[in-house]
């Protein structure tokens, strides 16, 4: 650095913590950040701080005032060249705040952040794009906002356009772009800044699958060249697949920092534990209620069913689903499951009128909404020819968990057949999406990166040892 900058920073130098080791590009030491819960009070504190600044009083930000809370509390981490760190935690745990602090957008209230070189923050793509300006003009604009000089932008212009796959649209106003093109252009500019550290805040989840893969590949390319990256994602597979380390953050505190596999496990366990706690609390409160009439269908409906996150469909005129639960072989509620664990899904149906040819079905979905497995009881011959009004029937579906680690949600439905000889389609009576869920934890001894874990028989043979295929034979003739 120039002598001028040395001179400028001299008062700060003395207070500086130990210098960064050569291969460390980011160091966060004991960093805390506070926010205020109440809008008006927050404004009042702003006025007080501003007035103090006006009078030349240096504020002390290390304590909490009324209604303030630590959005980040004593966070420390180090990132080395080329390392990819995954940041996971529930909404509001402080992930984005941490990114903003590392990008220098917000100042810390306690602690210190040291950064070596440029920080590229993909907190939002296409920041500052003007809809009426062309893609070309916006590349120069966005590049300037990200701190690139005109010459730097010109040198990378073709790469950016190529990467974004914009083609001749480059001279059309970005308002005419599809949302995919818009995001592609934003991403293309952001990754061509050549940062030392790339901060990625869930932005890659937009755009189509091909482009997502391209983005991930590009990120892996630049990390292979020494750029470090921090990823924020709810999609745990992604963390597992590309991150060297994972950090679980809960209510602003670091709960775990280490191997990404473990970080994902801990995060999923947190998610399920929180839901299990909620379910247990519900159970306790329903047990506390006075003894109920055994014939009362309300007995089977747990308190708070259906939960707020469920989507309900259907008229539910003749029957309704009053409970859905996932239990293990000992009928204990399931929160997390290892691969090969046996799961039993129970759908409790209360008939309100006489129903003929009734059945139930279920679906298991992954985090991106893909239907992975499911069936209907009709397929297995379980069609209830006649069910009287006022009954409770429990449909159960047993299956083995062959799903790769992640969080899965359940849809449950009850239906009837117009014609009992044709098992599909049933006519919907009542359905809930996202009514229950569980986390698959995978297998400790085996990495599962594919959607489904299917036991595979593997062999190695000479060609004459295997049964010939017809095409082999034809070629041999």
């Amino acid at each position: 650095m120039s002598a001028r900058a040395q001179q400028l920073g001299d008062s700060a130098t003395q207070r500086l913590s130990p210098p960064l080791p050569d291969d460390v590009v980011l160091s966060v030491r004991g960093v805390s950040k506070k926010f205020c819960r109440h809008l008006r009070r927050s404004m009042a504190y702003g006025i007080i701080d501003l007035s103090k600044n006006l009078l030349g009083v240096r504020p002390d930000s290390s304590g909490l005032r009324k209604a303030e809370f630590w959005a980040l509390d004593d966070v420390s981490l180090e990132l080395r060249r080329g390392e990819i760190l995954g940041l996971i935690g529930p909404n509001g745990s402080g992930k984005t705040t941490l990114l903003r602090l590392m990008a220098g957008i917000f100042p810390p209230d306690k602690g210190e952040i040291s950064v070596r070189g440029r920080v590229g923050a993909l907190i939002s793509l296409g920041a500052g794009f003007h809809p009426h300006m062309t893609g070309r003009e916006n590349i120069y604009l966005n590049g300037a906002i990200l701190g690139m000089s005109r010459a730097e932008i010109r040198a990378r212009f073709d790469d950016i356009v190529d990467f974004a796959e914009i083609g001749e649209f480059i001279d059309a106003p970005v308002a005419t772009y599809s949302s995919g093109m818009y995001v592609r252009l934003g991403f293309a500019i952001a990754v061509h800044v050549d940062p030392a550290i790339l901060l990625v805040d869930e932005v890659i989840s937009v755009g189509d699958t091909f482009f997502r893969h391209k983005c991930m590949r590009r990120i892996q390319e630049i990390t292979a060249q020494g750029t470090a990256a921090i990823f924020v994602s709810h999609v745990t597979d992604r963390i597992r697949a590309i991150c060297d380390r994972g950090m679980v953050i809960e209510k602003g505190r670091v709960q775990f920092l280490g191997e990404s596999e473990r970080a994902v496990d801990i995060y999923l366990r947190n998610v399920r534990e929180r839901e299990a706690e909620r379910a247990a609390a519900k159970l306790r409160s329903s047990l506390a209620r006075e003894e109920m009439d055994l014939s009362d269908p309300g007995r089977y409906r747990p308190r708070g069913f259906p939960p707020a996150h469920a989507f309900e469909y259907g008229p539910a005129r003749q029957a309704e689903i009053v409970n859905v639960e996932i239990v293990d072989e000992n009928a204990a509620p399931v929160v997390t499951a290892r691969i090969n664990d046996h799961l039993n899904l129970r759908i409790y149906v209360h008939t309100k009128a006489e129903v003929r040819n009734m059945g139930a079905s279920f679906l298991v979905r992954d985090e991106s909404g893909v239907d992975l497995l499911g069936t209907t009881s009709h397929h297995y011959g379980y069609t209830v020819e006649r069910a009287d009004a006022g009954r409770i029937l429990v449909f159960s579906f047993g299956f083995r968990n062959l799903l790769r680690p992640g969080h899965y949600s359940i849809s449950a439905a009850v239906n009837y057949l117009q014609n009992p000889d044709i098992p599909v389609p049933g006519t919907l009576i009542h359905q809930f999406d996202n009514i229950a869920g569980f986390a698959s934890l995978g297998l400790p001894e085996l990495d599962v990166y594919h959607r489904l874990y299917t036991p595979v028989e593997v062999g190695v043979n000479r060609p004459e040892e295997i049964m010939p295929t017809s095409s082999n034979l034809q070629r041999g003739d």
């Binding site: 650095m1 900058a5 040395q6 400028l8 920073g9 008062s11 700060a12 130098t13 207070r15 960064l20 926010f35 927050s42 404004m43 009042a44 702003g46 006025i47 701080d49 501003l50 600044n53 006006l54 504020p59 002390d60 930000s61 290390s62 903003r100 602090l101 990008a103 220098g104 957008i105 917000f106 100042p107 810390p108 209230d109 306690k110 602690g111 210190e112 952040i113 040291s114 950064v115 070596r116 070189g117 440029r118 920080v119 590229g120 923050a121 907190i123 920041a127 500052g128 003007h130 009426h132 300006m133 003009e137 604009l141 300037a144 906002i145 990200l146 701190g147 000089s149 005109r150 106003p173």
Partner: protein
């Protein structure tokens, strides 16, 4: 990428609580000037975006930049014709007097507006990207100066038509008008931060700034009959700053030079204070913009 001189050493940038307070006043200004110079490409790009994008959807486009001042001038010509205005004694045509005066007033207000909207113009971008926010002020100012220049061109044509003489000291206008920038953006910058945390205060000041024009001898002269009004304009620093900018165009001289220089110096000091206050406070204000 942006390197903040005050925080970066040997390629390592350090963020600490209340870090900007660690710098002395003189260094603050040095850093800010450097930030602005370093951000000239950004200022240019943002200016270009605002200037060209404003009328992109319009068919007559840039013509709007002339239509607005022309309409303003016509309204004064019309008012004069009604004989409603009794501006006091004048040795040049009133129309020339009032349109040059109001143009200078508008210049002051646009500097104020530029400062006033610094954080707001940054908008959502402030939360997403780190860049020197001083740049926004200068980009705003550049836009306002561009508008002013077009407006002045129209005004000068009208002044020439009114047969009021134009003299060479008009070339000094940029210098004479500099204190308007200092004062306007000083008040504006502070207000820009106040507007985030104290909406009411900024609204009140905003309204008051609009009324200030009537406390400045622009549409009337300083020999107006009312002694009360004469007293007010005497203590209004804008009287000397705005009227000097007007008089340098119309008469080729300053208005009350001694008082002008005092007010100009005061404005410059105020601007430096306001700039420093912006520098040490803006990051804590921005986090309240969520």
């Amino acid at each position: 990428m942006w390197q903040d001189d005050s925080r970066t050493e040997g390629g390592i940038t350090v963020y600490r609580p209340n870090q900007r307070h660690e710098l002395g006043w003189l260094r603050t200004w040095a850093v800010m000037v450097r930030n602005v110079v370093g951000a000239r490409e950004l200022i240019w790009q943002l200016f270009k975006r605002d200037f060209t994008a404003a009328y992109k959807k319009s068919f007559i486009g840039y013509a709007w930049r002339f239509i607005t001042p022309i309409l303003g001038i016509l309204s004064w010509v019309f008012l004069k014709k009604t004989n409603l205005l009794k501006p006091g004694e004048l040795d040049i045509p009133y129309t020339a007097y009032v349109i040059v005066g109001t143009t200078m007033w508008a210049l002051f207000m646009s500097f104020y507006g530029a400062g006033r909207s610094t954080l707001q113009a940054g908008g959502a971008l402030l939360m997403k990207v780190k860049y020197p926010h001083e740049a926004i002020l200068f980009k705003q100012v550049a836009g306002r100066i561009a508008d002013f220049t077009l407006r002045l061109a129209v005004v000068l044509v009208v002044v020439a038509l009114c047969k009021a003489p134009l003299r060479w000291p008009i070339l000094l206008l940029p210098l004479v008008a500099l204190p308007l920038f200092f004062l306007g953006s000083a008040v504006g910058l502070v207000l820009s931060m106040v507007a985030v945390v104290a909406v009411d205060v900024s609204q009140i000041v905003n309204r008051a700034m609009g009324l200030l024009m009537f406390a400045t001898p622009i549409i009337y002269t300083d020999n107006v009959k009312s002694a009360f009004v004469r007293e007010i304009i005497k203590y209004n620093p804008l009287t000397y700053l705005v009227c000097s900018a007007r008089d340098i165009v119309l008469y080729g001289r300053l208005y009350e030079p001694r008082l002008y220089f005092i007010c100009a110096a005061g404005s410059a000091v105020l601007f430096m204070i306001s700039w420093r206050l912006f520098y040490v406070s803006e990051d804590k204000i921005i986090e309240r913009m969520i």
